[in-house]
């Protein structure tokens, strides 16, 4: 589904990502892990067009999306969430999701201004879609609250709700569990499993290793912008390079 070949990004003299290859198959949940500053978020930014690569190629469903604009990549079906809590602060939860239902159904500017019958039908569809997503993520009872006033855990979920309203085929989650308590982590994992069960492919960046090991089919490990390991969770867990990258090399171990 997604094919990344030789992806490289330099920021000045620093290679944030270099010669990175990865494949994602339809229906998988793939984990992308690595120490802080390893280049995980840069890879997200490169895939979704927020940052353009210095070298390399990104193919989605056999089509080249390298260097395309973020909005057209979203229209093709790749949508990401953000590491920080990103949403529309002065809108209610429902308005956040309703506004984000922009691509499906898509309506034109002029039919909206002239308030045509077709436009009103699409608005109704978008509202229903938004309500479905809100119910799906259990945000029903806060749907009329302003997003900026909600606790952190809900705000993380709003981020996911916004991404889901673009009906992604490939969903990129950037540390969805960051700052959550154990309860919220478990709930969110249930949601991620539900998202996958409706056929959405997921690429997950996360520092919570227990969660990653539990939920991912496959894990890719990077350090200093390079891939150092790839495989099933159990394989990766035992990989010497991975343990080194996370724990460092002890004097006596060497």
């Amino acid at each position: 589904m997604l094919e990344i070949k030789g992806l490289t990004k330099h920021f000045g003299g620093l290679a944030a990502v270099s010669e990175f290859d990865m494949n994602i198959n339809r229906g998988e949940v793939v984990g992308l892990i690595g120490p802080n500053g390893a280049g995980k978020t840069t890879i997200f930014n490169l895939i979704t067009g927020f940052v353009h690569p210095s070298k390399g190629q990104i193919l989605f469903e056999q089509g080249d999306i390298t260097g395309k604009a973020t909005h057209s990549i979203a229209a093709k079906g790749i949508v990401r969430t953000f590491q920080q809590n990103a949403f529309l602060p002065d809108m209610t939860v429902l308005q956040n999701v309703f506004t984000s239902c922009y691509l499906h159904p898509k309506s034109g500017v002029w039919e909206a201004i002239f308030n045509t019958l077709g436009y009103r039908k699409k608005e109704q569809q978008a509202l229903e879609h938004a309500m479905e997503i809100i119910a799906f993520l259990g945000l029903d009872f806060v749907r009329n609250e302003l997003a900026q006033g909600l606790p952190h855990g809900y705000q993380r979920l709003i981020g996911i709700a916004i991404a889901l309203s673009a009906s992604p085929e490939l969903l990129l989650l950037d540390e969805p569990l960051a700052g959550m308590n154990a309860n919220e982590v478990n709930e969110t994992l249930v949601f991620i499993n539900k998202i996958r069960s409706v056929g959405t492919t997921v690429l997950l960046v996360e520092h919570n290793m227990r969660a990653v090991m539990k939920i991912c089919d496959r894990i890719v490990v990077i350090n200093f912008g390079r891939k150092i390991a790839e495989g099933l969770p159990q394989e990766v867990k035992r990989n010497k390079d991975v343990i080194e990258a996370y724990l460092g090399v002890g004097e006596d171990a060497a």
Partner: protein
């Protein structure tokens, strides 16, 4: 409750419109109509500026785009003998085209830097008008701009623009059109999209909104109506000089919008209306207009940050605060 509120809004709008349409039945005072017409022009400017501001970008070139509309329309009528009724939309289109021309590089620049760019753009437009003497007669001004061609329907209707009242009806009509168009933008998905861009453009872009195109759209629509206002102004005042379109004029439009309240389109209308009428009733306010506007702006930002449209809300909370202790006693 909300159902009542829903029917109150269109009702009060209709009453207000009827009221304004019927003013000429009660008085023919030319001075009053002159002020009301000026208020109408300012309402179009403030509401259209607000559409640009919805995306989070403040334009200080609105007087400049008004000038483009004014000069385009006046020159088309004077030099090419075009009818005013064709020149009016062309004035708006000219402004929108110039806006489109600079739009794509401009909207890449955000917040205060965008405001600075537009400030320079306004100055450049004025400078071009000043220096292109062969066309615009520079600072000596464009004089004797003809009034709109009379509307003649044989046997039933003849409207000649020889007094204030026909102009008054014309601007009323233009304000209504502008309001309907901008209101539809505001209350539809288009407005939601613009608001999303203002609140977080990365989130907007990530769900598939073409942020650049949307910003350029809002910018061009805003400038189009500034051009329309300019065209009307040219054929109403009949004399154009570059001095009528300076920086101060552009800032006044911003003040109308902020004082009235930028959250809703009614705010921009109210602000433009109140601030146009106020100085006319107190002579001294007119002489020291910049001072007065600064004062009003300060008062509003401190006590009514949401603008004049929040006045009822403020009133309610004041009453509550006064009643507060007695309620807790009971």
């Amino acid at each position: 409750m909300s159902k009542v509120a829903k029917s109150v809004k269109p009702l009060s709008c209709t009453v207000l419109i009827l009221l304004f349409f019927s003013i000429p039945l009660f008085t023919k005072e030319a001075y009053l109509f002159h002020i009301l017409i000026t208020a109408g022009i300012n309402i179009i400017l403030a509401t259209s500026l607000r559409t640009i501001a919805t995306t989070g970008q403040m334009s200080l070139a609105h007087a400049g785009f008004m000038a483009i509309g004014a000069y385009t329309s006046a020159l088309l009528v004077k030099k090419l003998d075009l009818s005013f009724w064709a020149a009016l939309p062309l004035g708006g289109i000219a402004a929108a085209l110039i806006a489109l021309l600079v739009g794509y590089p401009f909207v890449r620049v955000k917040r205060v830097y965008f405001a600075m760019l537009t400030l320079f753009l306004g100055a450049v437009i004025r400078l071009i008008i000043m220096e292109w003497r062969g066309l615009t007669r520079g600072s000596s001004g464009l004089l004797d701009i003809p009034p709109p061609n009379p509307i003649l329907i044989p046997g039933s209707l003849s409207i000649v623009f020889d007094a204030k009242i026909p102009y008054y009806y014309l601007i009323l009509f233009l304000v209504l059109i502008t309001f309907l168009f901008l209101y539809r933008i505001d209350s539809s998905r288009v407005g939601r999209t613009l608001l999303a861009i203002q609140q977080d453009d990365f989130v907007a872009e990530s769900v598939g909104i073409n942020v650049t195109n949307s910003k350029v759209f809002a910018w061009c629509v805003g400038c189009f109506f500034a051009g329309i206002a300019g065209s009307f102004y040219a054929h109403f005042i009949k004399t154009l000089t570059p001095d009528s379109f300076g920086v101060l004029q552009a800032i006044y439009v911003v003040v109308y919008m902020v004082v009235g309240g930028r959250r809703r389109i009614y705010g921009a209308i109210l602000g433009a209306f109140v601030l146009t009428l106020l100085p006319e009733f107190f002579r001294i306010l007119k002489e020291y207009q910049p001072f007065v506007f600064v004062g009003i702006l300060l008062i509003i930002t401190f006590f009514l940050p949401g603008g004049l449209i929040d006045l009822p809300k403020l009133g309610v909370s004041l009453v509550r605060r006064l009643k507060g202790p007695s309620v807790s006693h009971a």
